[in-house]
Symmetry: C2
Subunit: 148 residues, 2 copies
């Protein structure tokens, strides 16, 4: 059976957000929060534009989703994010008690898995969905920066 | 020599923010960011009012300070917070490269020191300033909740 709205489908939406960040000269990371097959929160990295280290894609998507739901918990939701969350974002996801987190590329330097922090015990973690697309976008960004 | 603006002085300002949270029926945690002896950012826990797990005192104070400075790094600043930061807040503080973090009461269950995450290697950490005042306020809050 074909599942049109699978993890790849929503990760592609997160990558569209990442592409948006790229075009705004931000490190290209994007995220969406999905509930019952519907996107209820989106975000892309805005740390430069907002001059704010807390403006990571995941944080903005979490806040948007909680605002949509009218409650701070995201228990029946999934977050799709193109890059492995950092400690801050993993810490925020912990507090939401989100059901599932899906990420694309690993972040071996600053990702929560090596750097510290953890998700909620109830949170299912899926790694590597559209990993190559996410990595390519990040590499293209840093390559363009080095040229400048 | 008397130092009027020492760590206790600014922690008292953080506790005033915590008291404000208490009055708004939020877990009473408060924070201020100080640069050159001046408070440039304040915040108290607003997770209930904003329905947003990311609205911790530290996060709001960091965002306010960065907004004041017009830059996302808080390299010559000190954050005073009445309770040990959680993983999310420690992760945010890491990104700011803040010079110094001073906290009041330890949080053995959810504090970053036991739970995970870490501060920036350049960040000096001071613990236990006005610890008893902070603990008393938290205890009074949870006592009042149990009565309801």
């Amino acid at each position: 059976m074909i599942e049109p709205f699978d993890d790849s489908y929503f990760m592609r939406k997160a990558l569209e957000e990442a592409q948006q960040a790229f075009e705004e000269d931000e490190i290209p990371v994007g995220a969406v929060v999905v509930s019952n097959g519907k996107i209820i929160g989106r975000g892309h990295n805005m740390t430069e534009r907002l001059n704010d280290v807390t403006a990571h894609a995941e944080m903005l998507a979490i806040t948007a989703a909680a605002n949509y739901l009218g409650g701070k918990y995201l228990r029946d939701c999934t977050l799709y994010v193109s890059l492995e969350p950092c400690s801050m974002c993993a810490g925020a996801l912990f507090w939401t008690q989100i059901s599932k987190v899906v990420y694309g590329a690993p972040d071996e330097k600053r990702g929560f898995k090596t750097f510290g922090s953890r998700l909620h015990p109830k949170t299912q973690l899926i790694e590597g969905v559209l990993r190559d697309e996410s990595t390519s976008l990040l590499q293209a960004f840093f390559r363009s920066k080095r040229k400048k």
